[in-house]
Symmetry: C2
Subunit: 338 residues, 2 copies
C-alpha cells in the first residue's frame, strides 16, 4: 500500500510548483530558474521520487527500450554482439529486451510482435533471414530495425557486418594455396542469404581464380553447434576434402575434434579455418586459424546506428549514405592451417 505512492504530483505539491515544472527539471529542460530547480531537486531527493517509465512511455510515445532478437544467447558469436549492443544501449540510457528466436521463423515473428506490442523504440535483428510475414511486420511499423552481424533477404534493412564474400574468398584462397586437394565450405543453410549470396559466391570466386572446378558436394550444411560439427566430421573427411572453411566457430571446433578423434591430423592431413574468432578458437588444440571480426563492435555499431535512426525524423530516414556499414575483418593464422 505504501508503494510507488510518490508521483510527480506529490513532488509538485510538496515543492509548491506545478507538475510541468517537476517534469521539466526531471527531464533537464533548461527553462527552469536555478532556484526552483534546486527546490524541486531537494524534494525529489527527500521523497526519493523515481519517475515511472511506463507512464512516461505512454505520454511521450517513447519507451527508451529496444528489442533485440537473437537466435541463441548461448552462441558465443551472438552473445558477443549482444554485449556490445547492451553497452551502447546503456550508454544512451536505453534498455534491451532480449528475445531468443531459436533461429525459428515462427518464433521470430512471434517475438517481434511481442516487442512491437511493448512499443520498443527500435529493433536489432540478429539472424540470417527474415520470413515474409516478418518483413511486412517491419515495413508496416515505422519502428527502425537494424540487422546486426548478418545479411538478410530484406534489402531495405540496414545492416552492420563484415564483407562475408571477401572474407570467405580470402580464406578459401589461403587454403587452396596450401592444400593439395579439395577445399570444403561448411555453412548453415545453403539457402540463407548470407550463404547463398555471399559466402558461396566468395567460395566460387576463389575457386575460379585458382582455376578449380566448383563441386556442390563440397558444401556442407550444419546447424550451428559443436555437436553438429563433430558429427559431420566423418562425412567431411570422407568427401575427400583436405581442408574446410567453417562459418561457425562451434562447428569448426566440433569438426576439429571430430577429425582428431577419428585419427585425422590437423593441420597435417586436414586444415581448418574458422570465421568468427570467438574464444573457442583459442581454446581448441590446435588453436583454430580464423577470420577475425570485431564482434563487440558489430553490436556496438548496430546500436549506435539504431539510436540515430530512432532520433531522426521519418522523412530523412530514407536518404543518407548507404544503409550498410561494413566493418573491417582480418585473418589470424594459428595452428589449424600450415
Amino acid at each position: 500500500m505504501e508503494k510507488q505512492s510518490v508521483t510527480i504530483y506529490t513532488v509538485a505539491r510538496e515543492a509548491r510548483v506545478s507538475m510541468a515544472t517537476v517534469s521539466r527539471v526531471v527531464n533537464g529542460n533548461p527553462n527552469v530558474k536555478p532556484e526552483t530547480r534546486k527546490k524541486v531537486l531537494d524534494v525529489i531527493k527527500q521523497l526519493n521520487y523515481r519517475p515511472n517509465a511506463v507512464a512516461r512511455g505512454l505520454a511521450s510515445k517513447k519507451t527508451t527500450t529496444v528489442g533485440v532478437v537473437i537466435p541463441d544467447v548461448t552462441n558465443a558469436y551472438f552473445a558477443e554482439l549482444a554485449l556490445g549492443i547492451d553497452d551502447i544501449a546503456s550508454m544512451y540510457k536505453y534498455n534491451m529486451i532480449l528475445t531468443n528466436s531459436d533461429a525459428d521463423d515462427r518464433k521470430a515473428l512471434q517475438v517481434v510482435r511481442g516487442l512491437m506490442a511493448k512499443q520498443v523504440d527500435g529493433i536489432i535483428f540478429m539472424g540470417h533471414d527474415i520470413p515474409e510475414e516478418l518483413r511486412q511486420e517491419f515495413s508496416s511499423s515505422n519502428v527502425p530495425v537494424v540487422v546486426a552481424g548478418s545479411v538478410t533477404n530484406d534489402d531495405e534493412l540496414p545492416t552492420v557486418r563484415i564483407d562475408y564474400q571477401e572474407a570467405t574468398k580470402q580464406a578459401i584462397k589461403y587454403l587452396i594455396e596450401r592444400v593439395d586437394g579439395p577445399v570444403a565450405l561448411v555453412v548453415g543453410s545453403k539457402d540463407s542469404t548470407i550463404n547463398k549470396r555471399y559466402r558461396i559466391e566468395g567460395y566460387k570466386q576463389a575457386l575460379q581464380e585458382a582455376g578449380k572446378d566448383f563441386d556442390e558436394k563440397l558444401i556442407f550444411e550444419t546447424h550451428d553447434s559443436y555437436a553438429e560439427g563433430y558429427k559431420q566430421s566423418q562425412a567431411i573427411a570422407d568427401s575427400g576434402a583436405k581442408a574446410a572453411f567453417v562459418s561457425d566457430d562451434g562447428v569448426a571446433a566440433g569438426l576439429l575434434n571430430g577429425l582428431t578423434d577419428h585419427g585425422v591430423k590437423v593441420p597435417d592431413e586436414f586444415q581448418i579455418i574458422a570465421s568468427n574468432n570467438t574464444k573457442t578458437t583459442e581454446i581448441t588444440r590446435p588453436k583454430l586459424t580464423t577470420i577475425t571480426q570485431p564482434l563487440y563492435d558489430l553490436g556496438a555499431v548496430s546500436m549506435r546506428l539504431l539510436t540515430k535512426l530512432m532520433n531522426s525524423k521519418d522523412e530523412d530516414k530514407e536518404d543518407g549514405e548507404s544503409k550498410d556499414v561494413i566493418l573491417e575483418h582480418g585473418f589470424e593464422k594459428r595452428q589449424s592451417t600450415r
Copy 2:
C-alpha cells in the same frame, strides 16, 4: 501519421460496443456473450488491432516484463541460464530486459534502478554478491527477486542453485584420492559469499576428512575468464599443487592450456576438475572432468519461481517452504583427471 491509430476505442466504435467489452475479450474475460465476442474479434482482426502494452502496464500496474541482471552475457555459464530464463518467460508471456552488470557493484545498482523505473514485475539476479545499497533497493521495493545460479550475502532472497559446498567437497575428495600432492582451489573472490561460505568450506571439509592441512596459499583468486586462467597457470603450478578444482570453466580451460603450453602434462602431472559443464569443457583437449549442473534448468526454475512470487499476494509471499531451491548436481569424469 498513420501509425498506431487503431486503439481499443477504434475497435469499440467499429464493433458498436464499449471499450470495456473490447478489453474483456482481449483479456479473455468469460463474461462476454459469445456473439459479441465474435463480433469484436472480427473487428480486431479486420483492423489488425494490437493492444498497447505500455498503456496496459500503466493502467494495470503490471508490465509482464522481468528484469534480468547478468554479470556478462558472454560467459557461457550465465548465457545458459539466461536461455532457460527466456524460454520459461516467453512461455508465461513475459519478456526479459537483460542488463549486464559487468560484475560491478555500482553498475549493478544502476541497472536495477533502471529496471525498477521501468516497472518490471520481477527481477532475476545473477551475481555473487549484493552491495548494501542494492539490498535496500530490493527490500524497499516490493518487486520479487530471485537469485539464479549463485548465493549472495542477502539471506532474504530466494535462490535457485546447486549445493556448492557439497559439490566442491566431492571434487576435492576425488582429487585428494588420486593425487600425490597438494590440491588447489581456484575461485573468484575469496570474499564473495559463494566462495567464502560454500566452496572454501567444502574444500576445508574435504581436506579435514582426509587428514590434510589447510593452506591458504592453495586458494587462488581469478577473474572469470580464459585469459586469467591461462595467466595464472604458471603460478598455480609453481605453488606445488598437483591438482585443482576450478569454479569457472573458462578459467579451467585457461589453466589447462596454460599448463600444457608450459610443458606440464594434464592429467599425468596435474589434474583439473571444472565446475559448470559448459560446452567449453568438451572442447578442450584433454576434455575437462567436471561437476555437472543443470544450467538451463537453473534458469528455467528461477523464472518459474519468479512467476509464482509475482502472482502471489504480498501476504503469503513470506511463508511457504524454504526459499531456496537446490537442484541436483553431478560429476562427469573425462580426461583431465585420472
